[in-house]
Amino acid sequence: MTAAASIRNPTWRSRSVLPGFGLSLGFTIFYLSAIVLVPLAALILRPWSIGWSGFWAVITDTRVLAALKLSFGGAAIAALINTVTGPIVAWVLVRYRFPGKRLLDALIDLPFALPTAVAGIALSTLYSPQGWIGEPLSHLGLKVAYTQLGVIVALTFIGLPFVVRTIQPVLGDLSREPEEAAATLGATRLQTLWRVVLPSVTPALVTGATLAFARAVGEYGSVIFIAGNLPGISEIAPLLIVIKLEQFDYAGAAAIGVVMLAASFVVILALNLLQSWAGPKR
């Protein structure tokens, strides 16, 4: 079959001389369904056993609303913090030369590699009133551990590599000519950074911040130790799911889970739109 014919081929796949299509795709779809799709269907179907009104009652309960607000709000604030610090860290890693740069670069991925429970107890100890950072802060009257601030610290920790790693390659590929042009046209260096460099990494920055936000909304392990988990104040939504599950309130747990799942889908959708907006830059 010629190439032209294979393009016009009306079947759902074009022909190939390579073997193993049926086997590999079959296994892929079977495994994907068994591990991911069917269990997710169980989650989506479960809350309706208590009906729409039951579902609505669960998610509009003040304790649940407070938890959802903290998870989403905390994730948003943490993503914003990383939107400021992330580009600076990425810029330093891409443009500056200094001893220990590779070490610094490798360390950025720590939040991906360090188990969340370990990060959780470490951050909690570090920012507690007796900790290395918590102690000096407590003299300033600032309490981090066991407050909402603690939640934000943990979520900032978890989100940092998403922002840095998304911008870093874009900064690395950036041509220096526009910067030179800006300089010849009389812009100061800071003006160039702000008005030439920053706009060219904005799509990557937004993508990175969205990824960090998505991860932070559902984050559990690194948060529960530092949060203090006061109902209605420093209790995050994933923890509330666990609590409901422990009380055998499966439908209630699933209801909150569905809300969080819906949020994940919105984020995936937003990311896909973003990527088409950012175009081939990625």
């Binding site: 796949r13 001389v17 390579l18 073997p19 193993g20 299509f21 590999s24 296994f27 892929t28 779809i29 495994y31 994907l32 591990i35 991911v36 269990p39 997710l40 169980a42 989650l43 479960r46 600076i88 860290v89 330093v92 443009r95 500056y96 610094l104 490798a106 360390l107 991925d109 720590l110 991906f112 590699a113 360090l114 188990p115 969340t116 429970a117 370990v118 959780g120 107890i121 470490a122 951050l123 570090l126 900790g131 920790f157 940092l160 790693r165 390659p169 910067e179 998505a214 909304v217 559902g218 984050e219 559990y220 392990g221 994933p238 599950l245 499966y250 699933a254 889970g257 994940s264 995936i268």
Partner: protein, 282 residues
């Protein structure tokens, strides 16, 4: 102006400020938490820390963690190979959608990833009573822990291999096939040597997450000491019992694993950059 400065390099003061910000972000969010883990573990001396690790419950937790990773990682690696073979070497409709579905577990809260299996296999779940009649336990037992771990580490190998194999194209495989190699020979002698470093990279990240997963496993494990507690869960139990040295001692093993993962990851990135899919990832 005393010395000439390239128009694309920053003013020394800007440099200093950016470096300070980057270093303090990395120090407060990454280095200090890591240092806290080891310092707390060794706060009463090495022998006390060692006793906490060399105790039956801790050893059972280590064994369980190794066993779970030994099942989940190879299965996900096999899935990753099958999925990337189907997606990278063939053209078919719905490819993009399939790739999105494979990435799905990354954007789902770890807690939700555990809940979905409780909803199916838990006592009040879809299959709960049937399984109980058969005397087969999934939730609060090894199978549940393995399933939850498989879910959260599901995309790691696939998302590394799909872009890599897509970039490599299919010419070499087509040549091998037309020269009479069987499908299995082609895969073993042509494809595998091309992707071995990428595969290792994916397996490395998959393993780190599998051994460190907390949220999803915590939901399905039931926290039966010495039986269904993995290392991260054991850390939580000890920490909540105020056995800080023990908690941080077990956490140090996980932290060492994370450091080892970062070292190998960096080595792979430096030496085989071309044989690993794009360096921007999370």
């Amino acid at each position: 102006m005393k010395h000439w400065r390239s128009p694309t390099s920053d003013h020394p003061l800007t440099r200093l400020v950016f470096m300070l910000i980057a270093v303090s972000v990395v120090a407060t969010f990454l280095v200090l938490p890591l240092a806290t883990v080891f310092s707390e573990a060794l706060s009463k001396g090495f022998s006390v820390a060692w006793t906490a690790v060399d105790e039956p419950d801790a050893r059972a937790a280590i064994r369980l963690t190794l066993m779970v990773a030994a099942i989940a990682v190879p299965l996900n690696a096999a899935f990753g190979l099958a999925a990337s073979w189907a997606i990278a070497k063939f053209d078919f409709r719905g490819k993009q959608f399939l790739t999105t579905l494979i990435d799905l577990p990354f954007s789902i809260s770890p807690v939700v990833s555990g809940v979905i299996y409780v909803l199916i296999f838990g006592l009040q779940g879809w299959l709960g009573s049937t399984l109980r009649d058969w005397g087969f336990k999934v939730i609060f037992a090894l199978p549940g822990i393995v399933l939850a771990t498989m879910f959260v580490t599901f995309p790691f190998v696939a998302r590394e291999l799909i872009p890599l194999m897509t970039d490599q194209g299919r010419d070499e495989e087509e040549a091998a096939t037309s020269l009479g190699a069987s499908g299995f020979q082609t895969f073993l002698r042509v494809t595998l040597p091309n992707i071995k470093w990428g595969l290792l990279y994916g397996v490395l990240l998959c393993n780190a997450r599998a051994m460190g997963e907390f949220g999803a496993v915590s939901v399905v494990s039931g926290h039966i000491r010495g039986l269904t507690d993995t290392m991260p869960l054991h850390v939580e139990v000890l920490y909540n019992e105020y056995q800080y040295v023990g908690a941080f001692a077990v956490a140090s093993i996980l932290a060492l694993l994370a450091i080892l993962t970062l070292v190998f990851k960096s080595l792979l990135e430096w030496h085989f950059a071309d044989e690993i899919a794009a360096t921007h990832r999370h």
